[in-house]
Amino acid sequence: MKKFRKAASVVLAAIMTASMVAGCGSSASQGGGSGETAGSAASEAAGASGDATFKIGVIGPLTGGAAAYGTCVANSAQLAVDEINAAGGVNGYKLELKSEDDELDAQKSVNAYNTLKDWGMQMLLGSVTSACSLAVSEETKADNMFQLTPSGSAKECVQYDNVFRVCFSDPAQGTASAQYIGEHKLASKVGIIYDSSDVYSSGIATNFVAEAANQGFEVVSQEAFTADNNTDFSVQLQKAKDGGAELVFLPIYYKEASLILQQADKMGYKPTFFGCDGLDGILGVENFDASLAEGAMLLTPFAADATDDLTVNFVTKYKDLYGETPNQFGADAYDGVYAIKAALEKGALTPEAGVSGICESLKKTMTEISVDGLTSEGMTWDATGEPNKSPKAVVIKDGAYVSAE
């Protein structure tokens, strides 16, 4: 037994040494076509300006409960990168992209960040969700790495000056939802069901309630659930019903929302459901009876059925490549890559500037650019990292998202 252990440890040590050598070898030859997960276009044509490329890392939930967001972000970012590379790259350099999974777990998000740093990441597009993005921002702050979160909407996500975001902040979503409901007189009595264990959901709920007072409608019930208790909503729905709510505001993700819609239907309760971007994806739940979501509204900056050239181009390409309709998270990521491109061009940067050099330059140039993207025209950023853009409401009709205007 002892002998066997000794032999095994020698073998293991040999394997480890070999893999380290191999690791060094591959990093030395990177840019010469070895980035296996990077876009095919990116690695093949890397010769434009020597071997150097801009390396962008993506972190998001590629598996787990929010995989619909993470995979769409990774795919859309890849789409944007391939487009940019096909058009000649940025400042003569190609972009290279690599995606890592965080399974919607803040700790795993930091692990993913470290993996990407080992790969040589110079800018981070991520993480996709608020809690993960927040955790990673502590690391990017320490490393002075430029971070652009496509959809981390919690207020604190952009608390550091090296972090920007593409989506609305939670306060903005909560306030905008309340304003929309008030302006369009959708209801006079409103119930809220939110996830108190999620910073995204509770952030929106707080600001929604605060703005409701100014909009002339009454919040009759404000009931929470937690991540450990997210299958039975009979009590929360009953309280909204007893309070006479004509509209139930759901600042939550689509998984729980799909259950809420089904349980409300079983109760015989039919209010208007109104959600934020987290509700985007509800029609993609396999086997879900879309008729239950009929008439539900959500505030989102992106509608896949819009007819402007940019959206049509993006949606068509995405469907061809991945066989699905992209959601708003993907649109945020696509815009994010173009924002990075614009800011890099503004600062006339090269990959040689290094992580910190790129970050210092982008902090300044991000506030000077204006991007016409999928999620808004003429998006601009201020030094706090918040975007300036205008939200749109969509309503679900006949199993599809339709602009509510």
Partner: protein
């Protein structure tokens, strides 16, 4: 009063699901004296099997449920044979407990690999929408009624099986004293395999009801209900078959009442707080018996 009745009905509806899961949990614990933490994941496997047969292949639940029961039964017996039996006589009883947690993660991740992380909406296997009382103010869902009836039937069948049949008597003997049972000519391995077969088959049935009541299916669907059902089994007296049923119903009602009258956020804290109090006052649970160690 009306709102109290509504809450009570909602509580029974939730509790009946806990009860049917807890029956399988307590069965395995009572006989094999091990906590099968993968029980919740057997439920998930059963649910996916039913989902594939009903939603993807368009077959009737009448065919799908027996298939799921058989597959879960095979899974349960195999798991016991491969993962638990070799560790049954390990130096520490923790070894098999940790293995059960490992099996649980294995099943979740295999499901993640096969079915993906996307939420699937489960088609209820019980098309009956239920009855309304008090002029339509109170609705009792069909799935609640059927779940309660089914769990009572299972309860009675298990009681009959354990106390009246030869195999059941063998189980009781194994539960009481394993080595003495061996000396009496009882095949302990076979008896424990049979226990796992029954427990896993019950998991498949529980899966059908769980996903009919809360129709969202992911690889993690079984995990939390599994833990809650474990709490229900402990509350009722782990190892006691009627205790599991009672514990499940009590837990469901307490949970919903706590949510209605105290706080929707604190309901879990209250439920577990009550568990602590019950265990302090009566460590064996509501219906548990004190088993004296004989020297």
């Amino acid at each position: 009063m009306l709102s109290f009745l509504t809450s009570l009905v909602n509580g029974l509806s939730l509790g009946s699901i806990y009860a049917i899961i807890a029956l399988g949990y307590t069965m395995v614990y009572g006989i094999a004296k091990m906590l099968n933490f993968a029980h919740g994941d057997f439920i998930m496997v059963g649910s996916y099997v039913i989902f594939i047969f009903v939603s993807n292949l368009g077959l009737s639940p009448v065919i799908a449920i027996p298939v799921a029961v058989v597959l879960c039964l095979i899974l349960g017996v195999t798991t016991e044979r491969v993962a638990y039996r070799p560790l049954r006589n390990a130096a520490s009883p923790l070894a098999v407990l940790i293995t059960a947690i490992g099996v649980s993660y294995l099943l979740e991740n295999v499901a993640l690999l096969i079915f993906g992380a996307d939420t699937k909406s489960f088609t209820s296997v019980i098309p009956w929408s239920g009855i309304t009382l008090a002029g339509g103010e109170i609705r009792i869902q069909g799935v609640t009624i059927i779940t309660i009836i089914t769990s009572v039937v299972i309860l009675l069948a298990l009681q009959f099986f354990v106390h009246k049949t030869r195999e059941g008597q063998a189980m009781l003997a194994v539960a009481q004293d394993r080595s003495a049972a061996t000396l009496m000519g009882i095949d302990v391995n076979k008896t424990i395999s049979l226990t796992f077969a029954i427990g896993s088959a019950l998991a498949a049935i529980a899966g059908a009801f769980l996903c009919s009541a809360y129709p969202s299916l992911t690889p993690y669907t079984g995990a939390m209900p599994g833990i809650k059902a474990f709490v229900a089994a402990v509350l009722g007296g782990i190892g006691s078959i009627p205790g599991a049923m009672l514990g499940g119903l009590v837990l469901g009602v307490i949970e919903i009442l706590a949510r209605t009258y105290i706080s929707t956020q604190l309901s879990d804290a209250i439920v577990f707080g009550i568990l602590v109090v019950v265990l302090l006052v009566k460590p064996t649970g509501i219906l548990g018996k004190i088993i004296q160690e004989k020297v």
